[in-house]
């Protein structure tokens, strides 16, 4: 969706849904994802439609992703850091999943 005018000079690596990617040091995560060719970063909580960063300035909340296990981070306000683990968000978070897991683990 976005194209780099120059090669990355100071690369930092991160993963998005398990795929290794690179960004320029100090770059915002949302921009890095778009420049890496990612089409959408989440699915909407109501209809499940694909969504991608829209405003890049912290206003629209379309860029919400899970970063290092923390949900709903605004990717346009977050700089990429070496080794960051980024995951897309699929629809509404399953709030009961945690309890189901716990139950399953009980004998």
């Amino acid at each position: 969706m976005l194209k780099r005018l120059r090669e990355i000079e100071e690369p930092v690596s991160f993963t998005f849904d398990g795929v290794q990617m690179q960004a320029q040091r100090g770059e915002m995560l949302a921009t890095a994802l778009l420049a890496a060719g990612i089409g959408h970063v989440r699915r909407s909580v109501v209809s499940g439609a694909p969504r991608a960063p829209y405003c890049l300035m912290g206003v629209c909340f379309e860029c919400l992703v899970t970063v290092d296990g923390l949900q709903n981070r605004q990717a346009c306000l977050l700089e990429v850091e070496e080794g960051m683990v980024v995951e897309s968000q699929r629809g509404a978070p399953d709030v009961l999943a945690h309890f189901r897991d716990e139950k399953r683990q009980q004998p």
Binding site: K3, A35, Y54, C55, L56, V59, F61, E62, L64, L77
Partner: protein, 502 residues
């Protein structure tokens, strides 16, 4: 002197003379001016580096490598340097989620500012608060605007300034306002290819714009604006008189269908950039209890302020575009004016000194107000892009509420946007109405045949940005607050806790 970088909530002082929210032109100028007086100043800003959106990455970018950003952008360099040399405490990556104004800020009674830095929340106190939260783009709800591949023009400009990246071709820019042409020209200079600009402005020869023309002839924007227009028209395809717009695609934007007086056409697009002007970012001011008023010329709500930025909430002032759109250079001067006013109200600057200074600055600022009326009238968006007629068009992106659903709910008679919210959940998603408030007001006004001024807008409450429960729980609590929740004195509370069975 240089700014002190604050990277943890604990590194902030417990209290300041002045807390400034936002490090764009108004915030940086306010901090620079205030720190000259020896006042204790903190600047809290959401981004990693100062500049706001207009001067984004101004401290890191160098003209050589990113010449294409243009002369107006590089004007921010001097301000960025002055700010870096001020003695303010500067917290980057800081999210301000609440302002609790003291009811009567007499000695000892201070405003409380809720802020999160690096995952830790903190309440700090301020004798005066300046909100310099800038502007956001006016939402432009057209069919397909939620598809990936659609961004705001501002977003494309931010990506260009901060990362040197351009949208994938073919690119369609659609909407109205000076920023659209500025972006087109920057993208051309940066080397982007295959661009079409669909101009949705209404015809130029309208009475509202013409009667404001004389002021514009003396405006600093005149030559710049015309130059931009001509340059863009020479170099890319510009279609004027666009009166309807639809973004096509299944899972991403693939094309744009648009109509002019000559008929309907469809063009391919990988990236669509929408823009129809900017409006004040009012969420924080509104949640702090500052009253809003409708600005008919700019077609937006803005906080009520006097000429020096004071709101009716004593000690809460607003500077720059967040008090009404005036552009970066007017915002910079406003920042200085408002800082001097705030400090003189607190007795930190002598009255006669501040009066003379404010007078001089106000004369400087006047220059940028000239011709603003013409620009506002010239670029007033078409109504069809303010209140989408098509029932299927999404208005609230977070909760996916369509224009049709809103009209249905409005016909049931809710008195205003706040009640409408409870009917259909529009404005209740994570963006807290930032991307639908303007549209909801416009639709409601049109349905009721009245002015947006009579309809009003969402009432906002803190936190204006999401805060984690763990952050709130981690805040130090006063004994009084602990008693209110637990019903026991903190001492007993502590004792009882140790008695809990393990």
């Amino acid at each position: 002197m240089t700014v002190r970088f604050v990277t943890a909530a604990d590194d902030l002082r417990p209290a300041y003379d002045l807390v400034i929210v936002g490090a764009g032109p108004a915030g940086m100028a306010a901090a620079t001016e205030a720190s000259r007086t020896g006042a204790r100043v903190a600047v809290l800003d959401e981004n990693p580096r100062p500049g706001g959106q207009i001067y984004r990455e101004i401290t890191r970018n160098q003209p050589g490598a990113r010449q294409y950003l243009g002369a107006d952008y590089w004007k921010g360099k001097a301000l960025g340097n002055a700010f870096a040399e001020s003695n303010a405490d500067y917290a980057a990556r800081a999210t301000v989620w609440s302002i609790e104004p003291a009811d009567e800020p007499r000695d000892g009674e201070r405003h409380r500012v809720g802020v999160t830095i690096a995952g830790a929340a903190r309440m700090i106190e301020a004798a005066a608060v300046i909100l310099a939260t800038g502007a956001q783009e006016r939402p432009m709800p057209v069919p397909g605007w939620t598809l990936p591949g659609v961004l705001t023009a501002g977003a494309a400009q931010i990506a260009l300034k901060s990362s040197g990246v351009v949208p994938a071709a073919p690119i369609v820019l659609a909407g109205c306002g000076p920023l659209l042409y500025l972006l087109a020209s920057q993208l051309i200079d940066a080397g982007a290819r295959d661009m079409t600009l669909l101009d949705t402005s209404r015809p130029v020869l309208r009475w509202e714009s013409l009667r404001r023309l004389p002021g514009f002839l003396f405006s600093p924007y005149l030559r710049k604006g015309l130059g931009l227009l001509l340059r863009t028209r020479r170099r890319i395809r510009v279609v004027t008189g666009v009166r309807s717009l639809e973004i096509l695609g299944e899972d991403r934007a693939e094309g744009v269908r648009f109509a002019t007086a000559r008929g309907t056409s469809t063009i391919n697009a990988s990236t669509v950039l929408l823009h129809q002007g900017v409006i004040p970012a009012i969420n924080l001011a509104s949640a702090a209890g500052c009253p809003l008023a409708w600005n008919a010329a700019q077609r937006a709500f803005q906080p009520v302020t006097d000429a020096e930025g004071r709101t009716p909430k004593r000690g809460v002032l607003i500077a720059g575009d967040s008090a009404g759109i005036g552009g970066a250079q007017a915002a910079e001067i406003a920042g200085r004016i408002v800082a001097v006013a705030a400090l003189s109200d607190r007795g930190l600057v002598a009255r006669d000194v501040s009066a003379a200074l404010i007078n001089r600055l106000q004369r400087q600022r006047q220059r940028y107000f000239r011709g603003r009326g013409f620009l506002d009238a010239l670029y007033a968006p078409r109504h069809i892009f303010l209140a989408p007629p098509d029932a299927q068009t999404i208005v609230c992106r977070c909760e996916e509420i369509t224009a049709g659903k809103l009209r249905e709910a409005i016909s049931l008679g809710p008195p205003g946007p706040n009640q409408l919210k409870t009917f259909v959940r529009c404005g209740m998603g994570p963006c807290q109405g930032r991307l639908c408030a303007a549209t909801v007001t416009e639709i409601m006004a049109a349905e009721r045949g009245t002015s947006p001024a009579d309809i009003g807008t969402y009432r906002l409450r803190a936190p204006v940005k999401p805060v984690r429960l763990a952050e709130l729980a981690g805040l130090p609590h006063a004994p009084r607050a602990l008693k209110a929740v637990t019903g026991r004195d903190p001492v007993d509370h502590h004792l009882n806790e140790t008695e809990l069975p393990s």
